[in-house]
Symmetry: C2
Subunit: 617 residues, 2 copies
Amino acid sequence: MEHPTAPTDDDATRQRSPVQQYIDRLHLAHCRLDGGDVATYIPELGKADPDWFAIAIATMDGQVYAAGDTDVQFTIQSISKPFVYGMALDDRGADFVLERVGVEPTGDPFNSITVDEESNRPFNPMVNAGAIATTGLLRGGTAEAQWQRIASGFAAFTGSPMTVDEGVFGSENVTGDRNRAIAYLMRNFGMIDGDVDEVLELYFRQCSLLVTATDLAVAAATLAAGGRNPVTGQRAIKEQHVANVLSVMQTCGMYDFAGSWTYDVGLPAKSGVSGGVIAVLPGQLGIAVFSPPLDKRGNSVRGIEVCRRIVRDFDLHPLRTHEAAQTDVISRRYDGRSVRSTRTLTLSECDTIEQQAHRLEVFELHGRLVFADAEQMLRAVLAVAPAVDTIILEGHRLAGIDPPAVPLIHGLARSLAASGQTLVLASFPPTDDAGKALVFDAERYPDLDVALESWEDRMLAEVLGPRDQVTVPLSEQELLRGLSAEAIAAVEGACTIGQLDTGAALAREGQDADSVFFLLSGRVSVWLRLPEQRHGRRLASFGAGVAVGEMALLESSTRSADLVLEAPSTVAELRVDELDALEREHPGLKATVYANLAQTLSDRLRRANGRIRALEQ
Amino acid sequence: MEHPTAPTDDDATRQRSPVQQYIDRLHLAHCRLDGGDVATYIPELGKADPDWFAIAIATMDGQVYAAGDTDVQFTIQSISKPFVYGMALDDRGADFVLERVGVEPTGDPFNSITVDEESNRPFNPMVNAGAIATTGLLRGGTAEAQWQRIASGFAAFTGSPMTVDEGVFGSENVTGDRNRAIAYLMRNFGMIDGDVDEVLELYFRQCSLLVTATDLAVAAATLAAGGRNPVTGQRAIKEQHVANVLSVMQTCGMYDFAGSWTYDVGLPAKSGVSGGVIAVLPGQLGIAVFSPPLDKRGNSVRGIEVCRRIVRDFDLHPLRTHEAAQTDVISRRYDGRSVRSTRTLTLSECDTIEQQAHRLEVFELHGRLVFADAEQMLRAVLAVAPAVDTIILEGHRLAGIDPPAVPLIHGLARSLAASGQTLVLASFPPTDDAGKALVFDAERYPDLDVALESWEDRMLAEVLGPRDQVTVPLSEQELLRGLSAEAIAAVEGACTIGQLDTGAALAREGQDADSVFFLLSGRVSVWLRLPEQRHGRRLASFGAGVAVGEMALLESSTRSADLVLEAPSTVAELRVDELDALEREHPGLKATVYANLAQTLSDRLRRANGRIRALEQ
């Protein structure tokens, strides 16, 4: 048997996914769950097939897992309420909306005609009175414009164009006397300004929007993702209003079942009389279930049970805690002794750095920096601070900075500055998770390497004076150690010595590698050209006393990178083919040079292995 | 002016902490917030000083920040309710407790005499009726034993021994007719079994326990930390019941202020008539505020406002979301081409591995693996799976595995096994965050290095046959490449060749390093002795064709590690001081050997730098 159309790679991957397999099993297991009655208070709703049953889950990157009747459309009913509330918050601001509609749950039924006696506000936007008042707040000016606002608002949440079930809409409109009474009461209290019939029509029409379980899962995932639809990428609601919507769903979303729901499931949720239920796991998932039979509180029997089961099977209750779950945001910490910039220094410079290395402490951070992490991190930094004078926070593995952590980092920067210590941020994200630019009282570098190099320069300048003025004669070059004065003189005779300016290239990638360069003064760096990056990637940087292009001594091949001067430099170039002549005059010279080269490489390898161990910590 | 006692380092660090400075400012700012009245319904409570004001915050590692009157003791009153509820859950199990006490909020006052008409249960354990019924459920058998249970239970939560304010207790007992009526009603409905007076006395006594704001912050932090007191390390409540307690606090903790509280603050909380408020940020913080003047709902005016302010200042509302906050649990991924075990292989072995390397994919995971991360991770793995035959999940930087993620990893393992692919777990935590052992259908290795070595062995055995049977003569040894047959013969003559068994040591750390070993067959590894580890740390492993102890060629010093055979091996040992004699007979031999050494080191350095770049990704 063949598939009529070959599944795409994505489909194949999804089919193999344990999540899809789980959803399929969940659907199968709950097909047998009976009980409850299809709502009939609007005649059109009574026509629903009690066996319709769909489950859908949408993730933060827009993956949708679905099982069952995911192509059956049904009217959204009360599940429209949180979304319309979100639209009203976006249109009018939270303060204005809060004056018109409260946020307190009520033990009364969803269609009760009661208001908060103190303020005459409807109790909350999840009861009909509140939802009608909320609908009246939407921007537009005309009923037609308001309807466009609603329809396009829902389309942003679901990612699909929306249509209305005209049969249900007509039925709602005809049988809506109780809601009509509520609407007039709302206008009596000044909670509706406009035409009652127009507002009611908008309200009935929004309740009659047709959706599938998949649409609702995506809409729920849009709330979970901070208001941007994870499938289409379109923003549906401002990030700042998502918590308001979810809070009201949390306390008022499941009619008078809020306590048990919070106890068993705990996710902000909303149900509707057509049999839909949505639940939101912030930052992770949107869940939707559709099954028309309702319990006596008006919630879908299978909808409740499937949500309960998902939360139990995966232990997703948001209030469960695990003592072992505390993350240490500091992934690695070490003092200056276990890290160097990639710049190659002479032995005496290395010694100098080594002697100052205790004055530097590096903290590498990882994961998402939340408030409690930042508190722990700043305590660790402040505890070590008196013993050092520079602290580097390295952040390239930070998954994000939660806004609550930002004031703590500010405070840390101020506290360190006050006691004369330097805070350095390397590879820190430019903004926090809310997109706000992070501006701290600290030095900033694009990566740890540049931050370390800057720190090393400061140490070297402090102890040895400015580095660019250092001159290292051939007799003191690492590669020529142990040669007699006569042999050094011979090498010098064989070299071409030149003074070159910043930016000059000693060699270019691809050129024949037939000479080695002794840096007598100045600085040179090694750049790898990357097709996708304009400026390439700096692999290493070298100061006076170091040989570059030394791989030419080992293999006759071509240069693997550009060698570019970073400062005015004096360079002695020795062609490799001169070595044999030098060896004939000074037997043992080659062995000494190669032994020195092996020694240099061995030192670098030791440092590289130390760095690997530090990174692997 | 001097401090009477010098502050400890910890104190000094805390004083510099921006969190402490924030709390101090917060306290100062709210000293001016007036309004509200001290409770007087129990005469003793009316004696409270309305200016008493304390704020305390406790972290998951037991750090306490506090400001104001943190040494003033007050009676715990209703804040005892969630803790006693937790004790009852531990003593009787959640199902049993749920039969006697519901979890639905009620719009009625805390001291109302109402029960759930369907089940005759009190609505929830945060109203007096529910709290009295809950108290009656505690284990003990006698009232005295039950009291010991309560007192020691609270001591576990606060970390301090508990005492009772006998004045308040007497006052409660005398004026408690309403509660007496409630208690009799509870017994009438069968929700209390025992002696009404005894249960009531226990109830009044628990309400009269004396606490400070610091005690309450630690007790709240104990809930935030999954039930283990973060200061003392003592378990106060089973982890599995913490979510139940927090759920009831979430819906019923702030009297009929739950909706606004959830909307503005969102943290599970409880207040009491003596002016205390606690709030819990799961996994992060416990917060306590103490200020006696109450608003008309019975909540501390400053308590509410301080909590609201903390949540607003640090954006701690648990339902806020940030679209940028999605963490990718995969910190690095690469195929076999960019990683090798630390074992040094011959060039031909390296080539073989290189040719097979596309069959391996490594995923390094970091952060805390929650459900949504696991879903994304398994999708990435399944998408690449058809193209490879081995997948390594490397987990040493995982901060933990949330139990919801576990079934997904199980499913992934099954799915890969079903299609004949090998799942390998390296450095995976032994348990999930709930402490449950993780047993997957996968190969497991203590670290990535060993996992890679095992994979390499499989590849080499597949292509080249069993490695331990390979013999590499001196003429093919890396260090002797390019030497004439005569020179090789001379080297062979200068060597001591021996056959040694598994476990034999070629050299020990600290011995003179005066020879180099050519491995003709077998395997040797390099071990660093670490004082704290019984077996040391394996730095590297070498197969036939490779020289070990080669650093002796560079510097006359001592061995820096043990060289131990991992298999029966044939080894040729060459003393370094033979080299000069060999050079005299075969001029240029030393230069060739050192050039080969430099080449080998250069190759290793290149690989090490590749590994560093991969690690730094």
